[in-house]
Amino acid sequence: MIEFNQVGKTYSNGFQALKDVNLKIEQGEFVAIIGLSGAGKSTLLRTINRMHDITEGTLTVDGVNVMDLRGKALRRFRRRIGMIFQSFNLVTRTRVINNVLMSKVPDLPFFQALFGIFPKKDKLEALEALDKVGILDKAFVRADQLSGGQQQRVALARTLAQNPQIILADEPVASLDPVTAKQVMGDFLRINKEMNITILLNIHHVDLALQYAGRVVGIRAGRIVYDGPATEVTQDILDEIYEGKTEEEAVG
């Protein structure tokens, strides 16, 4: 369970990205966070695995206060939270399987990590993760030979191989074409249902958000302005979130 309690975040340059955020997400939910660019979606997501620090309030994940974590404890905590990025963030010059195995690196002893020797169990888990996202046949191909959608699936497999309880996805479909975007969203939904992994994603495509997510959180200027089931989102609510700019945003 992720719990935000009166969370605020002010950047060192004085910009207030989050204000009075209260949010409770249960294990196994599929939450889409929508809002304008710069509204604080990305910041909200990145506070959960503490890629960003919060400056006010408390944030707990399964009862652990995130701001109390340091060094090794923080890295161990991050093992349970997978993260997906808009730009896939793969090492394109190595094979797909090596990219997936990266998520196993933090558990390796020093010398095995130095020489890149992975136990067979890890390799099989990596292959199974690739199978789950349907690109098992690309396992031994170099990552730069895959299409954008396939690369995002490799990133998803990398996260799955980590056996996370939560997956945070920062604009996972923003650089994909509409058809591929739907396929990737479908992958997320399946993983959410079959493996009971909590999924939080930032998304610009309102229609995709409403179609796939169970719950929608709307953010405007750092504040949560809507929090409820996707089925109950009306045009008025979208207008409120997007300050009347839904038309252009939804198309983009």
């Binding site: 390799k123 099989l124 292959l127 199974e128 199978d131 098992l136 396992a139 031994f140």
Partner: protein, 273 residues
Amino acid sequence: MSIYDKIFPPKKMVLSNGKTVLKPASRLPLIALILVLFTALSVKITGFDLGVLRERGSQFFVILGMMAPPEWGYSTQVWKPLFDTLKMSLLGTVIGAVTVIPFAMAASTNIVKNNAAVGIMRLFLSIVRTLPTLVTALIATYVFGLGTLAGTTAIAVFTFAYMGKILYEEIETADMGAFEAMEAIGATKVRAFVRAIIPQVLPSYISNGLFCFEGNVRYAAILGYVGAGGLGLILNEKLGWREYPSVGMILIMLFVTVFFIETVSRYCRRKLV
């Protein structure tokens, strides 16, 4: 499937859900083996010995130490050879870069459709490229006599070889759409090339030419050693007479010149791209 995969067959991996994947054998062990063997052979043949380096390594700095302080008064005699070197490089670069244009065109598959002709032209360019500059310079001194003309020729040949390959690769990757459009409205091939391909290739051509010129100034300093004029001539002379402070002065002036040229040329290249 490549030959390697046949010799070292891929490993089969079975997933928990029963699916199987073929894992191609890693090439790393073979590459590592070749590298280690070749290194061992090279160490044996060249007599590589770290012990010698550790014991006598300081000797390397003896000559360097003798160059300091440089003989400042000598600088007045350096100017002329230094300018000779610059002139040699500049003229050689321009001659080489200009004469190579028709050859590079003939070696581009999108301009000349005859594969055999392109292949012969490329082989010719390759062979010219393999000629060591020093050999070209030596031959040039026999033909043109000792002096800067020999150096200019050697640099022109080197530039010709270096620019040839880059230029035909550049021409081949140019967008042919504009060329076809020109031909479609009735332009001749030459005119279409001038109006459609040259504007695409020109910036990188000039940029590579400048880059080549930078390198040629350094090269020209070596060429004098075989009698092809310029800075190398006095460098050779002063080294022979063990006048190391003068050598230091020559090197400092060469360094400042190269620094100046690189700065100007980098500025120009940045403006071009």
